[in-house]
Symmetry: C2
């Protein structure tokens, strides 16, 4: 089935500013709550949030096999479980109805009133109920930087890194939607010259610039998905900030890996941009060598050209650019990550979230974490207001942006943001 | 409120064999499907499965504030979210109705027909929809053995182990109910004398003898639970086998910890035994030294005397005892694990599963994994049929049993079992 929604010539009767992340060619999916306290699944064009629950109820999806309440839900999980054919039909239909040539909804003021909202007047919610959240570690530059900084071994990369996409299970409950404030976590850290660990607020709050993909029901328990079939199971992508407390991480990670240093919060952007919308921005990823056979895919534009930028907004309102990276820097592809994830029979379900790992590039201004940007606090960053940062301070508003752009247009993710709040007060037991 | 359900003098009008894990004092909770394809929440007395959906519909919970469909569900999550007071009211009422002195249901043949089933005629399902599955590493003996076997460091334990309950996020999707067959996973392993990893079925399939606890909604995102309040949030316990592929684990674990070596399957026992039922078996755990203050609880029988046994049944039907351990060997308590888990603000929800880690004792026959029992294949175990095991073979049926026993009776968990099936055939891409 053709992805007619992607037609670059198409214009919408809804106004879209030049350079907006959400032209009619995007049609992402999210969940929001209206001023009237109605929770619905929706999409976005320009600065308009579109209530797909109402849109469906009023018959605009007629002819597409959908259950009546598929969009009147607080998560996209069931819609995602419907599979690629349905996603494509739905996206094509939305594009058609909002096409400037189509007068049906355009001329129906009553319908428009219950379907279309100012995006600033709705509150975005977490778009999926995250079943499991896995985070990979697939940027060679990031893995190399981390190994160098912590002098983890003689060789810059562990022997295993080049043979498989390394990953770990992370915490699903604390995945939050963009805009949710982030409490500085309490925890145990080691202080210089102290024998015993110290308990208190973490000092080294870092971001991790990532993307993530969301899957449909991929495979049954015990049955791996084949690399030739994995890609079809990916619904879409979001931006992801895998907040990390580096001082807690250092203390707790041996031998089981990061735990509380990551699980205090993970932020994702509110709109899931479909793989269909990203199709025009496919590109080759880095050259891969000696790939173990089950992870070999045809050389067929397995990566995506997605520009990624990080900023910190200080309490005075200054926005300071921190770094610029690109998804195409990632060594292991999403298809390989998903294939590897199921190769042992582990079942991946609709609504699962799979992170890329920090996406760093090869130049210093392309690093995706403060750990790398300040080289473990050795080179603090000076901000516009004259203050310096090694890690983030309370009140810092950390912003990730991501978008694809070519001569025919732009498809973006909007923002993935979180402001750091002071640690809670904790009364120690007597 | 008194836990009248625990009255050791009470007898049921349902027959219970001497030594059965499920006397009327137990009243665990599970989910099953009847011969007529009805899924319901239930409890068990002796060899009888009791349909609590029907029990509630017929008015036997009258006077207890419960929603109509609370037991007509395919998971216990909503009931668990109702909290401790409700759990206790429900358990007390069940004990009362099945008390030999109570004739109401006992004399109502019609009601008995729709409420009471032979436990062998129902199929047990996973009792909870696992939100997140965390696995701790809280047995000092196990951690010490692992460190010795792999010569991980000079000291037998990492410096961090004694200061906090180390744990890691594990996979929720592949938690299965006792009896589910377990496929030998495919994966990458390192073979002696080979430069590159080899792909194929894992060779070193191990068990991990664990228990786990299930929580209610513990805390909000960003707000730690206090150690004095943590315990009230634990609903009950199950047996858990954290299946592990040691050869995959060795290859993938640096630096992020175990991933696919664990996520192919985790088995839990079908009946959740409530903390209320375990109350008579509270005991002191190991002496703790230098506990960081937020993890300090009053010395007040913070552990439980739960006998744990492992067996392997070979295809010829022989049952071979492998080891005997006890929950009370565990160094860190469940209250400490839960407090530590939330100290960073990570939210723990109703239906979350939190594993103990392998529970080994100090003597060789008390080790909870084949890794330890055979000291990393150095000392194979000879079975009744004359065959030997280092790790498990296809066709092996691994069984964990657990129960508490004192002069007044026995409260048990039943079995946690899984039979190992050969790896799937996987067609490598061209």
């Amino acid at each position: 089935m053709e992805i007619t929604a992607n037609n670059p010539q198409r214009k919408s009767w809804l106004h879209v500013e030049q350079g907006c992340d959400f032209p009619i060619q995007n049609i992402p999916f999210g969940v929001f709550i209206t001023k009237d306290d109605i929770i619905t699944i929706g999409t976005r064009i320009g600065e308009y949030a579109i209530d797909l629950g109402a849109f469906h109820q009023l018959g605009y999806f007629n002819g597409i096999p959908l259950t009546d309440d598929i969009f009147m839900q607080d998560s996209l999980n069931d819609f995602i479980a419907d599979g690629r054919k349905t996603w494509r039909l739905v996206r094509n239909r939305i594009a058609d109805v909002f096409d400037i040539e189509n007068k049906t909804l355009q001329n129906n003021t009553k319908h428009k009133e219950v379907i279309i909202f100012d995006v600033n007047e709705v509150e975005m919610l977490l778009p999926i109920q995250v079943g499991d959240f896995t985070d990979f570690f697939s940027s060679k530059e990031h893995a190399t930087n981390v190994a160098k900084i912590f002098k983890l071994q003689e060789e810059p990369l562990n022997n295993n890194w080049s043979h498989m996409p390394l990953g770990f299970h992370s915490r699903a409950s604390s995945v939050v939607v963009s805009g949710t404030p982030i409490r500085r976590p309490l925890g145990q850290t080691q202080q210089l010259g102290q024998d015993k660990p110290v308990f208190g607020p973490a000092k080294c709050i870092d971001m991790e610039l990532e993307t993530a993909f969301v899957t449909t029901d991929v495979n049954q328990f015990g049955k791996p998905i084949h690399i030739n079939e994995a890609k079809e199971n990916i619904f879409g992508m979001v931006l992801l900030n895998d907040w990390s407390a580096r001082d807690i991480q250092k203390q707790e990670s041996k031998p089981l890996g990061p735990f509380l240093s990551k699980s205090f919060a993970t932020t994702i952007s509110a709109w899931i941009v479909t793989m269909d919308a990203l199709e025009p921005f496919k590109c080759e990823g880095p050259e891969q060598e000696n790939v173990v056979k089950y992870l070999k895919h045809k050389k067929n534009k397995n990566s995506y050209d997605i520009k990624l930028k990080t900023f910190v907004e200080t309490p005075n309102g200054d926005i300071n650019a921190l770094s610029e990276s690109n998804f195409k820097n990632l060594y292991w592809t999403m298809t390989q990550q998903l294939t590897h994830h199921t190769i042992n029979g582990c079942n991946v379900r609709a609504g699962d979230l799979i992170g890329s790992g920090t996406i760093s590039g090869s130049t210093k201004n392309s690093y995706g974490s403060m750990l790398e940007l300040t080289w473990n606090e050795e080179e603090p960053i000076t901000l516009k207001d004259g203050s310096t940062r090694t890690y983030f301070k309370n009140g810092d508003h950390v912003i990730i942006r991501g978008y694809c752009e070519n001569s025919q247009g732009r498809i973006g993710f909007g923002k993935c943001t979180g402001k750091i709040l002071p640690a809670v007060k904790y009364n120690l037991p007597e």
